[in-house]
């Protein structure tokens, strides 16, 4: 009996049950690290306190790298845009959407915008130079740019484009005139309108950023608890937050059907 108990203890030590260790959360690299972490920290502290576990914020610059780490089980929680989520879901079925972050208008949806500076093109028709985009897997990246230039000639592929890593860099690159135009999240673009950045055209609303759990590393109960905690957080609690300040909505896979159709429209095949 003693041998059995000892063996059990050894097994428990070597293979702890999911949810027992420190959780790792990776936010979307929309802006620089300081801004991103400062934005996400209150929400994460709240979750850590309620769950009674440590949650570490890990800043990763590259979307592709984030998805890879998630698949490897090195990330427990991640914030994803709709496109990366759909992409990940296709490749890795163990993703669990927990909650969608509401935008400033209180809706769980956002748009992407084609932006320019004070001396840039004033309409889509005037765009005749390469665009700058956040990242390939960003919803406001190639997908949105292609949708925004759908009926434009020359088209996106002919104009050319360059990924700069995040939305803030896109905004500032356009402000500095390094690119005549770029595509980024509309909400982020509005932060830079005082630097003469202006929106030329917006996409239709996409599902908002989603907090995703990794079923490989989280048990179902804990994942559900995280989703519930976010959705039920009181306005008083989140009033001092940045990310999540406007609340959360229930996430479901059907929310992303529209995005899948758009992808099909412009010929993006996830397979």
């Amino acid at each position: 009996m003693k041998v059995l108990i000892l063996s059990l203890l050894v097994v428990l030590f070597l293979f702890p049950p999911p949810g027992a260790a420190e959780l790792v959360y990776v936010p979307l690299p929309l802006e620089n690290a300081e801004a991103v972490i400062a934005s996400q920290a209150p929400m994460i502290r709240y979750l850590a306190e309620k769950l009674g576990v440590q949650i570490r914020i890990r800043y990763e610059k590259d979307y592709q790298q984030i998805l890879q780490l998630f698949k490897e089980g090195k990330i427990d929680l991640v914030q994803l845009g709709p496109l990366p989520y759909v992409t990940l879901k296709k490749e890795y079925p163990q993703v669990q959407p927990l909650a969608i972050i509401n935008e400033s208008d209180g809706k769980p949806a956002y748009t992407c915008a084609l932006v320019t500076s004070f001396d840039g093109p004033q309409s889509v028709q005037e765009i005749n130079s390469p665009l700058t985009l956040p990242q390939a897997l960003s919803t406001c990246g190639h997908l949105s740019a292609a949708l925004l230039l759908k009926d434009h000639q020359p088209d996106l592929e002919q104009l050319g484009y360059q990924y700069l890593g995040n939305h803030e860099k896109v905004a500032l690159a356009v402000v500095r005139g390094e690119f005549k135009a770029g595509v980024m999240k509309t909400q982020v673009a509005r932060k830079y309108q005082n630097l003469t950045l202006k929106v030329i055209k917006e996409t239709v609303p996409f599902p908002g950023f989603v907090i995703v759990g990794n079923k490989k590393t989280l048990d179902i109960k804990q994942a559900m608890q995280i989703g519930q905690l976010l959705i039920q957080v009181s306005p008083e609690t989140r009033s001092s937050w940045i990310t999540g300040k406007d609340g959360f909505s229930v996430a479901a896979d059907k929310d992303f059907d529209l995005l899948t159709r758009h992808m099909t429209t412009i010929g993006i095949q996830l397979d």
Binding site: A33, E34, A35, I37, A38, S39, A41, P42, R56, I57, Y59, S117, F118, A171, L172, V175, R176, G177, K191, Y192, N194, L195, T196, S240, I242
Partner: protein, 637 residues
Amino acid sequence: MFTGIFYVAAFLCLLWSSGFVYLRHERNTLERMHLANQTTTLNMVWQAVVKSHKTGMQVYFDTYIMQPQVLELLRAAQGGSESDQAVQRVRLYRYLYPIYQKLRERDVRQLHFHTPDARSFLRFHSPNHFGDSLATIRPSVVMANRDHRYIQGFETGRWLSGFRNVFPILYSDEDLGSVEISQPFESLRREIWHLDKSNDFMLVYKASLLLPKLFEEQKKIYGSSLFSQDWLVEDPRWELPDSPPKMSGPAQKVYAGLSESQSFIQALSQKQPQSVAVKVQDEFYRVTIIPLEDVEGLTAAVLLSFSAAPEIDEMYWNYRTDLLIFSVMVLFGGITFLLFLQSKQVVVEKQRNIQLIANTMNDGLYVMNDKGVITFVNATASEILGYSCHELLGQEAHALFHFHDNGRCSLSECPIFNVLLSNASYAGEEVFRRKDGSSFVAEVASEPMFKKEKVVSAVTIFRDITERKKMEEQLTHLCNVDPLTNAFNRRYFLQVLETEIQKSKRYRTPFVLAMGDVDHFKRVNDAFGHEAGDRVLKEIVASIHERIRSADVFARWGGEEFVLLLANTSLSVAVPLVENIIANIRLLDFGEIGVVTISFGVTDHHKEDTIDTLLNRADKLLYEAKEAGRNCIRASE
């Protein structure tokens, strides 16, 4: 004894306490000096880094900001509509962005232009945040624009806190506002770390000064320090990519334990740089606190450095070792002293007992050292000699009261003193002299006293035997004298005779033996009684004693017979003497008894004589005298 132990224990406690206080004071002084030295050194290094930083920023300002294009853009931004200003801001941003990138590579994070009225015009690190007034939160900007002078110093801000370098921008006497070029604390931390790699550094901010200035989103980057909520640390979880590297493990432990260090908390409130020692897991660390004042003289932040302090560990180890050695020495000394006291007590008790014994002795006792000086004397000796003990102590016994040979004996000849020289005991009779000058015969016994087999003193016991001597003489006299007549008895006479024969043989000295017998003595006894006879005999003896010398021996031989030994006398001299004796006796008046006569046989000593031959010859001559009619003498050679 108990009182003695109490006082010794109290003294030892006092001594140990004094030593403890001294050693502790010494350790604390060394520790303070060490910490003061650390403070001075680190502060000097820090000041050097700050000066270097200031010089670098001045060069950047002169090189990159004060150029015509920049100044023209700033001038164009003065006045005009808001949209015109926005365009000029973007143009300035575009123009200087490559330079800002270059400066970032050199750790510059703050390139911030301000309007003359102290509002933000363009933050290169956050270009979309501008227009906010800095009048209340950035005194350095206000001062630079108001006084048109360069302002340097630590200051918190809405985005970043650190060492500020605010340069006023004047172009052809036109006030174009100011610009700030600053590096983050991390840059200065690296600089100081390169100069002193033994330390870990961290910066903490005064919450009451920092929080009111921060943009809301920036507040999330700060957290309370582990030692006080009044002080904040930036990025406490090291989540930002360009955060300073984590401090070393020991430094983090020290940091975590600072809340329990009262000396640290106290030092934190001081305006002067200080160092304190903090003990973590049995090891000491130095924590140096360098207050950073903002341009208004308020302590806005504190630079903390952590470093191992093996020197303080050594000080404490030395202190503990010294204290242990001192404690053992005090304990050992105390035990030794107690043992000494105990042994001294035993000695005192022994001395007291000896003194008691000595004083209760009937004999006099004194001890003299190797010089013959009295070192101890008992009461009886004092009483016998008539001196007080005080008068006797320290005096030479021989000179004071020895009276050998009527005082003619020198010290070296003194048999009592010679005990010291000969290492041998002495017993005998000596004459001592009292204080009043009278002398007495003392029976003396003296023994040497040794110390490591060397004679160092002698103890002498004496008693006054004057009375005893008298009694002895009386007894001797009684043994030798006939109780009736007071003449020597026969036994004594035979001893003397034997002695005289031997002396005569050896020295050829003559002597004469006369044997006498009272004539018709029986008739006296019968007629007048024995008492009358005894009276006759007494008077005859007394008469004879009057005629003979002291050297002569006259004895009652038995009954009415007497013998007379005339020493050193020839027969020719003796005969007239004896005839004279006979004549005197015949003249004695015995009252009713009448005349009593005596007859003598007188002979001298022959060399072949024995007692018997001599006595027989005298007896024959006496018989002849009796035969010749009595009251006469018959002598022969």
